[in-house]
C-alpha cells in the first residue's frame, strides 16, 4: 500500500450513524492522521473515506466500516472498496453551490472555509447596491414558499426600528428532509457569512439561528464556527474595521413542526408556545420583540456568499424561467441511491430520481414521489418530466417545498400515505384555528376508516369538502397546506381510494386490515414460521408444505421475517 498521509472521513450524522467514527478510531490507532469532513452526499455509501497519499493523489473508499478498515490494514486490497464509476456519477451529475464545501472541507476549521471575502466585499458597498445584486441574482427563499429574497431584505432595510434582527430558520421540520442539517454540519461558515451580509444590509447587529433540537451535531459545529469567526474578527465588533458589528447566537428548538412557520418561530424565540399569528404585520416590520426582523432559511443564506463572490448575473444564468440557481434535494424512500442532490432549477424530476438517484431499489416499480413533505403532494409517473421550478411543481398540486423528495414504489399504499401525513399535521396543529385543529382530525378519521376497510362511498366527497374548508379556515401555512397530500393522492391515485372503499382491497398489500397471509408452494416445510408464530396459526408436518389459519393469524409478520424461501406472502 502507498504511504497514506491522511484520511478524510465523512462525519455528518449519516456517516457517524454508519460507523465512521469507529473507522476513524481504527485508522488513528495505526497512526494515520484523520480529518473530519461533512456530509458528502452519497449517504447510501457511508462510511466514506478519502485516503490521501504522499504523491498527492487520493482515493475514495465507500462502505468503509470498522470491519473493512481492519481487513485493509491486514492486507485486503483497497480496490475492493474504491468507489465505482457509477457511484461517482452521483456527484458529477450535480451542480454544487450550496453544497460547494460540504464533504470537501473540514467544517471545524475556519481556514479551510476561507476569509469571509464576500462579507469583506459587501461591507464596502451601500445597502441598496447589495439588494440590487440580490435582485439581479433572482434568488428565492429555499424554506418552502420561494419568496424573492431581495424583497424581504429590502423591506427589512427600509423598516424603522431601534434594533433589527436576522433570524436563520434551521427548524427543518419536514420529516424526511435533511438538506439543512447537511449544510450546517458540513459548511456552517457559509450560513454565518450569509447572515452577516444580511445584517449589514438591513442594519441589524444581532443574528439568531433557530435549530431543531434533534440536530445536536449541527449545533456543535455551529458553536465551533461562531467561536472561530469571532476570533478572526469576521463576527463581533467593528468587522473589517468598519462601523458594522454583528454577533450570532444559537437557539435550540424544542420540537414543534409549526415553529418552522416564521411568526410561530418568533413566538418560540420569545419563550412562548409556538403559535402563529396573523400577517401583516410581517416580521420585516414587526418581528422578534416587535422589531424589524428578516427570516431566511439555511439554504437561502448559504447561497449568499457565493452570489457576492461570483456576481448576481452568474447566479441568474443558472436555473430556469422564474426559478434561479440550484436547489438541494434530499432523496430518500425507495430509492437506490439516497442522499443529497443539488441540481440547477429546471432539471426534471425524472433526471433527479433516475439519473442521480439510480431509480427504484430492489427492482420494484416506481409509483410516486412526495415533494414538500406534509405541505406538499405526491407526483405520479406520468408527470415525472415536470421541471423542478416553483411554478411548474405548483401546477401538479405539490410544492417544491424545502426539498424533501420521498420516492415510493408499488408496495406503498397512497391512501396510507395520505393518512400518514394527516396524522402528522393533526398532531402538529397548534390548535389555534378550529378547521386546522378539528378538520384535520375529522379527515384523519375518514382516512383511517378507509384504510381499515370501513370506508363509505360518500367519504371521497366528504374529504374534498373538508379539504377546502381546512385550507380556507386556517391562519397559517400548516393548515392551509395540510390537505395537499390528500388532494394530490385523490387526484392521481383515485383508483386506490376506490379499491379500498368499494373492493375492500389494498393493491399495495400494505393496509393490514385488507390483506391476509398465506403460504405458497415455495414452502419446504422447515418449520421456521411455525416456531415463530405467536398465536399458533401455522400447522404442518416437517418437510410438508405448511398451512396458515387466516382466522387465527394476527398479521404480525413474524412468519415472513423467519421464512428463508419467500414462501409466506401477503395477498
Amino acid at each position: 500500500m502507498k504511504y497514506i498521509v491522511k484520511a478524510v472521513i465523512g462525519q455528518g450524522s449519516c456517516g457517524i450513524a454508519s460507523g465512521s467514527k469507529k473507522t476513524a478510531a481504527i485508522l488513528e490507532a495505526v497512526g494515520i492522521p484523520v480529518e473530519p469532513t461533512g456530509c458528502i452526499g452519497n449517504c447510501y455509501l457511508e462510511p466514506i473515506v478519502d485516503f490521501h497519499f504522499a504523491d498527492g493523489s487520493s482515493t475514495r473508499l465507500v462502505k468503509f466500516d470498522e470491519e473493512a478498515a481492519k481487513k485493509v490494514l491486514s492486507g485486503e486490497p483497497l480496490a475492493n472498496y474504491i468507489i465505482s464509476e457509477e457511484d461517482e456519477r452521483y456527484l458529477s451529475g450535480q451542480k454544487r453551490i450550496v453544497l460547494r464545501n460540504a464533504g470537501v472541507i473540514n467544517p471545524e476549521d475556519i481556514s479551510a472555509y476561507g476569509d469571509y471575502s464576500a462579507l469583506r466585499n459587501a461591507v464596502t458597498h451601500r445597502s441598496e447596491e447589495i439588494i440590487q445584486t440580490l435582485k439581479t441574482s433572482g434568488l428565492r427563499g429555499r424554506g418552502g414558499a420561494g419568496f424573492p429574497t431581495w424583497f424581504k431584505w429590502d423591506a427589512a432595510a427600509k423598516a424603522v426600528g431601534d434594533t433589527k434582527y436576522v433570524v436563520c430558520n434551521a427548524d427543518e421540520g419536514d420529516p424526511g428532509a435533511f438538506m439543512d442539517r447537511s449544510v450546517l454540519e458540513g459548511d456552517p461558515h457559509s450560513v454565518l457569512e450569509g447572515m452577516a451580509i444580511c445584517g449589514f444590509t438591513i442594519g441589524a447587529s444581532e443574528g439568531i439561528i433557530y435549530v431543531r433540537a434533534e440536530y445536536p451535531l449541527a449545533i456543535k459545529r455551529l458553536e465551533i464556527a461562531i467561536g472561530q469567526a469571532l476570533e478572526k474578527g469576521y463576527l463581533g465588533e467593528n468587522i473589517f474595521n468598519t462601523a458594522f458589528s454583528f454577533k450570532i447566537r444559537i437557539k435550540a428548538g424544542a420540537g414543534a413542526f409549526v415553529c418552522g412557520e416564521e411568526t410561530a418561530l418568533i413566538a418560540s424565540l420569545e419563550g412562548e408556545r409556538g403559535m402563529p399569528r396573523l400577517k401583516p404585520p410581517f416580521p420585516a416590520q414587526k418581528g422578534y420583540w416587535q422589531q424589524p426582523t428578516n427570516i431566511n432559511n439555511v439554504e437561502t443564506f448559504a447561497n449568499i456568499p457565493w452570489i457576492f463572490n461570483n456576481g448576481g448575473d452568474k447566479f441568474e444564468a443558472i436555473g430556469y424561467e422564474k426559478s434561479k440557481g440550484t436547489k438541494v434535494f434530499a432523496l430518500a424512500g425507495k430509492i437506490r441511491r439516497g442522499g443529497l442532490a443539488e441540481v440547477p432549477m429546471g432539471v426534471s424530476l425524472r433526471d433527479i430520481i433516475y439519473g442521480i438517484g439510480g431509480g427504484i431499489k430492489d427492482g420494484k416499480q416506481f409509483k410516486a414521489v412526495q415533494l414538500g413533505g406534509p405541505s406538499g403532494g405526491c407526483v405520479p409517473e406520468e408527470l415525472l418530466d415536470t421541471p423542478v421550478d416553483y411554478e411548474s411543481i405548483n401546477q401538479t398540486g405539490a410544492i417544491v417545498g424545502s426539498g424533501g423528495m420521498i420516492v415510493m414504489d408499488e408496495t406503498t399504499c397512497m391512501v396510507d400515505m395520505a393518512r400518514y401525513f394527516l396524522d402528522f399535521t393533526r398532531n402538529e396543529s397548534c390548535g389555534k384555528c378550529n378547521y386546522c385543529r378539528i378538520g384535520t382530525k375529522r379527515m384523519l378519521e375518514i382516512l383511517e376508516r378507509i384504510t381499515e376497510g370501513k370506508g363509505e362511498p360518500s367519504d371521497i366527497e366528504l374529504l374534498h369538502e373538508l379539504a377546502d374548508k381546512v385550507k380556507e379556515g386556517s391562519l397559517c401555512g400548516l393548515g392551509q397546506t395540510a390537505p395537499n397530500p390528500v388532494l394530490t393522492t385523490l387526484r392521481y391515485f383515485g383508483n386506490e381510494y376506490y379499491d379500498h372503499i368499494f373492493e375492500k382491497k389494498c393493491t399495495a398489500h400494505s393496509c393490514k386490515a385488507l390483506i391476509h397471509y398465506d403460504i405458497n408452494e415455495n414452502c419446504i416445510g422447515c418449520g421456521a414460521c411455525k416456531r415463530n408464530c405467536p398465536v399458533e396459526a401455522i400447522s404442518g408436518e416437517r418437510k410438508v408444505r405448511h398451512v396458515l389459519d387466516k382466522e387465527k393469524c394476527i398479521k404480525c409478520g413474524k412468519c415472513i421475517e423467519s421464512c428463508k424461501f419467500n414462501a409466506v406472502v401477503k395477498i
Partner: protein, 163 residues
C-alpha cells in the same frame, strides 16, 4: 420533593430576569434532571415570576419536554416519512413488543423509554433509531425487526454485566 436545587438555581441566576428565556431554562432544567417535575416547575415559577400554569402550557406544547421521568436509555425511534415508507411501523411494533411498553412509556426496570419521533435527519439510512444515554447518543440505521431486538438485548446484557 427532593431535587438538587443548586444546579437549577445557578441556571436561574443567569436567566431569571432575561426576557424570553423560558424555553432555554426548561431545556437546561431537563438536562439536569432528565425530566420536568412539578417541583422543578414550581421552583422555576417562584424564581422567574412566571405563573406555573403558563410554564406548564409551554412545556406541554413542545414534544421535547417530559413531565415523567425517563429510563436510562432513551430510544428515539423514527417515524418520519422516509422511515415510514421503509417500514417504521413494523420496527416500532417490534421494539414495543420486545420491551412491553408503548410510545412514551418506560420499562419496569427503568432501563428503556420508548419514544417515537419524526425524522432524525438520517433518512437515507431508514428505518432509523437513536438511543441516548449517559455516554452520548448512538444512531442505528437500516433496521430490521431482528436487528432492533438484538440491539436492545445487547444493551440489556451490558447493563446486567455492569451490575
Amino acid at each position: 420533593m427532593n431535587i438538587e436545587l443548586e444546579k437549577l438555581d445557578k441556571l436561574l441566576d443567569k436567566y431569571a430576569d432575561a426576557p424570553g428565556s423560558l424555553i432555554t431554562v426548561l431545556q437546561n432544567a431537563q438536562e439536569i434532571y432528565g425530566w420536568l417535575s412539578e417541583g422543578t416547575i414550581e421552583h422555576i415559577s417562584g424564581r422567574t415570576g412566571i405563573k406555573a400554569a403558563k410554564i406548564y402550557g409551554v412545556a406541554t406544547f413542545y414534544t421535547q419536554f417530559r413531565l415523567k421521568p425517563i429510563g436510562k436509555h432513551l430510544i428515539m425511534l423514527c417515524k418520519g416519512t422516509a422511515c415510514h415508507v421503509n417500514g417504521a411501523d413494523d420496527i416500532a411494533a417490534a421494539a414495543s413488543e420486545h420491551l412491553s411498553v408503548a410510545d412514551n412509556e418506560t420499562t419496569a426496570d427503568g432501563l428503556f423509554t420508548l419514544n417515537y419521533v419524526a425524522c432524525l435527519g438520517c433518512c437515507s439510512l431508514a428505518p432509523v433509531m437513536m438511543i441516548r444515554s449517559d455516554g452520548g447518543e448512538e444512531t442505528y440505521g437500516s433496521l430490521t425487526n431482528a436487528k432492533v431486538r438484538q440491539i436492545l438485548d445487547d444493551i440489556r446484557a451490558k447493563e446486567a454485566a455492569a451490575e
